[in-house]
Symmetry: C2
Subunit: 276 residues, 2 copies
Amino acid sequence: MPNKSFKGKLDLLWNQNKFVCVGLDSDLDKIPKSVKGKAGERIFKFNKAIIDATYDLVLAYKPNSAFYEAEGPDGLEALKKTIDYIHKKSPNVLVILDAKRADIGSTNEGYVKFAFDYLKSDAITLHPYLGKEALKPFLDRKDKGLIMLVKTSNPGSGEFQDLEIEGKPLFLKIAKNIVKDWNVNENVGMVVGATYPKELAMVRKIARDIPFLVPGIGAQGGNLEETVKAGADKNKKGMIINSSRDIIFASDKPNFADLARNKTIELNQKIIEALK
Amino acid sequence: MPNKSFKGKLDLLWNQNKFVCVGLDSDLDKIPKSVKGKAGERIFKFNKAIIDATYDLVLAYKPNSAFYEAEGPDGLEALKKTIDYIHKKSPNVLVILDAKRADIGSTNEGYVKFAFDYLKSDAITLHPYLGKEALKPFLDRKDKGLIMLVKTSNPGSGEFQDLEIEGKPLFLKIAKNIVKDWNVNENVGMVVGATYPKELAMVRKIARDIPFLVPGIGAQGGNLEETVKAGADKNKKGMIINSSRDIIFASDKPNFADLARNKTIELNQKIIEALK
């Protein structure tokens, strides 16, 4: 029987040498003009074209919910249709809902219902600030991936994340607690930005078996080779390397999906090279 | 011309001796059976009854988006209709969207559009972990309230929030940065839980002029008198005291709205007494 956990599904994809996650940051203002229709319709049509052109190459898609919520119920419907379409197109490719949620205790059950029961995502990104106890409704979901924001890719992420606790940065303390205490169901992942390769290596050192979602290469400035070397686990796997704008908005011409495919192939190839 | 900032609107309401925020945690499973219809319809009907019974008494309503998102687009529509109805019923009562969001940089523009342009909330709750730089699209909104999670009310909030940075807990360092550096537009608020009155007093000591959203009295166990004494500012104001379940689910009988009104009057009266 195949391992149906998030980690088990990732292992299958890594074994096929797939490392790229396409970030579906489908900002309505940036979708090529050739994609016509109302707001939600344009978003879905655009995503569908990207998925059709890349689903055989990728590990995961990562729709960021902000871009969908911006359009209200139409956006939400486009998000739901997008995720349904990914699952229909390929039973193996994973969907990571980049929603950066976290409330206290039972309130999180609403988000669990939204992300997993309604949208049928395979994983969600979460803020760790409220602690493990608050996130129990998420952590109890053995079948899903719970990906914690540890060291984020933005230039100002150090304001709190780098503060020293007994001589070590806060992000490392958070990573330690996650490894030691949060991951009893082996369903936890971590977000560590490619813009901080040194910190990425520090987190990998203590989180040997945890999948990393790594945003920040390309437009944000992260160096791919450094990132891959810093973030790989002992099996030269363990990373979900995200690229959003560089792939989905590679062109604003009607051939945008072909270019997205080329960019995805190129990125995955570069990752494989860097892993050697 | 009246002051149209979030803080200015709060001042007007505090001057009317209003301190209660009703948390519209309108969990479909807990709505009285006498409220009939489909999911979204039941939520809106229930909220409408609560609003009709309490709008002349309260400072604010705080719908927690988790309960609405759980129902997909129907829930989102109920949320939109609820907020529209509050604004229609009273131009003064504030709407705090308890969404606990925070992404990096321009991605937050999607959430800004969702919370302020689409839903027309007056304020939103936010996670501080990504730092000020990440939250710029929120902080730039001079007309809105940006309420940061500082010390949350849940039992396990100390896991990271109480970690010591140079002898002081992390939540206090976050509060300090917010006071010193984040509040240039005087539009920032803080969430500090009633379940931690000592910590509430510590935050008030350094954040003298900042509105506090205080959840955690009642069902969560916070003591009202202690809370009010710890959290009041020098003008014996400065607090948005939230109560959710104790008010909205005061009864599961058809007279639930009358009981919600009684509970709201009682709570506001107790706050006024405690402030003396």
